[in-house]
């Protein structure tokens, strides 16, 4: 049985690990695509990236879009930006550090190694060897995933990491689709979507080398053999939540909502809604995913236990609402 605090730390480990990997891909793409563009085009591309990452919704966040180095620094090494790569790497390490007693030693060593190798902790400058750093981060994230999959017991802790990763990944993919549909330039770049989700090669193998926009949207939403599709993510998240909810009743609600979102994909409800109004449909779907993530977080500390805690702080040792005692 896992401590609530440990569950939270592992859930966020999964989310931040996925975020670090996502940002490395986005930065790699942005660094390539912005180079050679006119200033207004580069700014529009930057705005699209910021919208894709959901940063435009963050209250109080001012994203520097005036120059490429500023944008790269904001996403790479700005510790005030919770979505930056440095913040994600630090968060992965700190969360794993707080559960060091229950994770494989190799998992900690990989995360600690990434933290120690990441060269911009405390620095604001854009590195000259940006691609090298991004490649190192992606490889480290893959190594961490490898240890998670092959070296960690399939217990509640593992399930929380998977839930965190799958929800974070599906939120990003839906955000990417929504931002692509909203792009005021109307560019509808299918290749961009595939590259940002590391799905280009897989798509080419299945569907040939000339991706069409609608086909790619369907692929990223529905493909049951693509580990990065929203459908695949929801299937895995639902499976893990089902295991967790068998012991923790408070996680049954996010499990049911996840199943509902999965069925909206499976039975074509989302596709139907997207025919007439793709952006609102995706916004609504993304919002639902974010709510599921919040409910998982809340379910980790069930309300009954919180009530007992509050009573204990007022009258320590007294008999009160005990919550679920086992």
């Amino acid at each position: 049985m896992i401590l609530a605090r440990h569950a939270g730390a592992l859930l966020w480990t999964g989310r931040y690990l996925e975020r670090a990997e996502t940002i490395s891909r986005c930065l790699s793409y942005a660094a390539d695509s912005i180079t050679g563009l006119r200033a207004d085009e580069a700014r529009a591309e930057g705005e699209l990236l910021v919208r894709t990452l959901g940063l435009s919704d963050e209250p109080g966040t001012v994203v520097p879009l005036e120059s490429r180095p500023q944008l790269v620094a904001f996403l790479l090494s700005d510790r005030d930006n919770p979505c930056s790569m440095v913040s994600s790497i630090v968060a992965v390490r700190e969360n794993l550090r707080s559960v060091r007693d229950r994770i494989p030693i190799e998992l900690w060593e990989e995360a600690n190694g990434l933290y120690l190798r990441f060269p911009f902790l405390g620095h604001d400058n854009t590195p000259s060897d940006l691609h090298e750093v991004l490649r190192m981060v992606r490889r480290a994230c893959l190594a961490i995933s490898g240890v998670l999959n092959e070296g960690m017991r399939r217990d509640e802790g593992h399930a929380f990491v998977v839930v965190g990763r799958m929800l974070e990944r599906s939120i990003f993919t839906v955000g990417l689709l929504e931002a692509s549909h909203s792009d005021p330039r109307g560019s509808l770049d299918a290749g961009r979507m595939l590259r940002l989700t590391s799905s280009l090669q897989a798509y080419h193998r299945q569907h040939g080398s000339a991706p069409d926009f609608c086909g790619v949207v369907r692929y990223l939403l529905h493909a049951d053999d693509l580990p990065r599709s929203v459908f695949s993510c929801l299937v895995r998240a639902q499976e893990c939540l089902a295991d967790l909810a068998s012991g923790a009743e408070a996680l049954d609600r996010p499990r049911r909502r996840t199943a509902l979102l999965r069925s909206r994909l499976e039975f074509g409800d989302l596709a139907e809604a997207m025919v007439s109004a793709p952006v609102p449909a995706l916004l609504d779907f993304g919002g639902e995913l974010a709510e599921v993530a919040n409910e998982v977080q809340e379910g980790i500390a069930p309300p009954q236990t919180m009530a007992a805690l509050r009573s204990q702080y007022l009258r320590p040792g007294a008999t009160g609402d005990r919550g679920v005692l086992r």
């Binding site: 049985m1 896992i2 401590l3 609530a4 605090r5 440990h6 569950a7 700190e94 550090r97 707080s98 559960v99 060091r100 007693d101 229950r102 030693i105 900690w108 060593e109 600690n112 190694g113 120690l116 509640e156 967790l244 012991g247 923790a248 408070a250 996680l251 379910g299 980790i300 500390a301 069930p302 009954q304 236990t305 007992a308 805690l309 204990q312 702080y313 320590p316 040792g317 007294a318 008999t319 009160g320 005990r322 919550g323 679920v324 005692l325 086992r326």
Partner: protein, 495 residues
């Protein structure tokens, strides 16, 4: 003989040990005539074959291993903590089997007597105080005295389950106790990790020796904690309570929890309901039976102790009083950690066990005794003054190394607050080769063995050897630039 040139091996040898000065104190490796002590013969031969480059390479490997694993400790400055890689020197310390047996008997005896004293003081009639073995005023004025611990029953009367007793060797080569640590002694994780690193990097060094392993610490500790479970709890739920990831010893807390296969909890993970302690899991509250706490008494329960403590568990004291949980080590052990009580430990051993102490104290002068104070202050430039409430070498004045002004200030502080100081004869800690300035030089060291007490008392073979890495320094604390060594206890003395 002051300087070693041929290691007593029959021929002069050029190498890392050339010019090694074994004359400053009792040297663990070399006899006064320059010959190598028996247990070190093969090790000296092995190191003789190494060059500076190779030793540097091995050192780097160890540092990289520790860095990768995050084996660190935190040094606190005034404003913030700095995480440092744990320092380990490659030349191991070796203790012969017979020598260890004698030392272990002495440590076991000392901890048994101190447990008797604690049980008598907190749960018995205070007979030792009534009989004048230790002055009552001294004990009740100790910062470590915890009034709330009076009357709390402790299984097997084992108040101190995990003790770390600092021992040193003086000029005559005999071990003496320098300090008793009965609250939260730390360092055991580094003992185990030092061995693991040595086994990886210097495998060849182990070929010639039967060294007692270090992996058994976790099972020993777990068995000790299980034996402390409240009555009727046959498969006790054990947790390690840590202040959190920013604590200097967090690595050790996580290490112990992981090695024992128990949960590492923070205060916020625990809650008390109906005088019973529970951990907060995703499935609800789960009863906790034994808490191996690594936080100080003052922070354990904000209701009974420091109200601003965010590290403790509200209501824990009530659960303890009700006998529904055991906390290891028990509260209030600080009275015997108090250096002011230390001079009375030999008498405590005689009183409770009817035996002569196997390991002596360092000669100590009590400053509240006017005659002893006068004598000590008169010779302060030859002695060591220690504040009784400090640890980690803080506030220690080493007379021969102090300036006139420092000595004058220390004298006036001692005169002003004699209860707060003890003064000891200077012990020239024994020396052992350590790699410094591209050669092996003699450095002073001490030893902290760990003694576990539950239903029975066991001494873990070996301990943490701390070494002063600056030439001539007697300060071995890692926070003050000290290093460590792998400590070998030989399984048998025959070749």
């Amino acid at each position: 003989m002051a300087v070693v040139s041929g290691y007593g091996l029959g021929e002069p040898v050029k190498g890392l040990l050339d010019g090694y000065d074994a004359s400053r104190a009792y040297d663990e490796v070399f006899e006064p005539d320059g010959s190598v002590r028996g247990v070190y013969t093969r090790i000296v031969e092995r190191f003789r074959g190494l060059g500076v480059t190779e030793l540097r390479r091995l050192e780097k490997l160890v540092a990289e291993e520790f860095r990768r694993q995050g084996i660190t400790f935190t040094v606190y400055s005034e404003e913030e903590g700095t995480e440092r890689i744990w320092p380990m020197d490659l030349f191991p310390r070796v203790i012969a089997a017979a020598e260890w047996d004698e030392l272990a008997r002495g440590l076991s005896q000392r901890v048994a007597a101190l447990n008797c004293f604690l049980a008598d003081f907190y749960n018995g009639g205070g007979e030792a105080l009534a009989d004048g073995v230790v002055p009552r005023w001294l004990v009740v004025s100790s910062q470590g005295f915890e009034r709330n611990a009076v009357g709390i029953r402790v299984p097997h009367n084992a108040h101190c389950n995990i003790a770390g007793i600092d021992v040193v060797r003086g000029a005559n080569g005999r071990y003496r106790v320098l300090e008793d640590n009965l609250r939260n002694p730390s360092g055991i994780s580094y003992v185990v990790e030092n061995r693991a690193a040595m086994a990886k990097v210097c495998t060849w060094l182990f070929d010639d020796h039967a060294v007692q392993p270090t992996e058994q610490y976790a099972p020993m500790l777990r068995a000790t904690l299980e034996s402390m479970a409240p009555d009727g709890r046959d498969s006790p739920h054990i947790v390690v309570l840590t202040p959190g990831i920013f604590n200097s010893a967090y690595f050790e807390h996580a290490f112990l929890a992981r090695s024992m296969g128990v949960e590492l909890v923070e205060g916020r993970d625990l809650v008390v309901d109906d005088h019973t302690v529970y951990s907060r899991t995703i499935e609800g509250l789960v009863r906790v039976d034994v808490i191996y706490r690594r936080i100080d008494d003052a922070f354990l329960d904000p209701v009974s102790f420091r109200p601003d403590s965010a590290l403790g568990v509200p209501g824990l004291l009530g659960a303890l009083r009700a006998g529904n949980v055991s906390v290891c080590n028990a509260m209030g052990n600080g009275v015997v950690d108090d250096k002011a009580v230390y001079p009375y430990v030999p008498e405590i051993i005689r009183y409770y066990l009817g035996e002569e102490p196997i390991i002596d104290n360092v000669t100590t002068y009590t400053m509240w005794d006017p005659d002893q104070r006068a004598e000590a202050l008169n010779r302060l430039d030859q002695l060591v003054a220690k504040p009784v409430g400090e640890s980690g070498g803080t506030g220690v004045l080493i007379g021969p190394h102090a300036s006139e002004q420092e000595l004058a200030e220390a004298r006036s502080r001692i005169e002003a607050e004699p209860r707060e100081w003890i003064v000891q004869e200077l012990v020239q800690l024994s020396t052992l080769p350590a790699f410094a300035d591209d050669r092996l030089e003699s450095r002073h060291l001490d030893l902290r063995p760990f003694i576990l007490t539950g239903e029975t008392t066991e001494v873990f073979p070996g301990g943490l050897t701390r070494v002063a890495m600056r030439r001539g320094s007697l300060i071995v604390n890692s926070s003050k630039g000290g290093g460590s060594k792998d400590t070998w206890v030989l399984a048998h003395d025959s070749p």
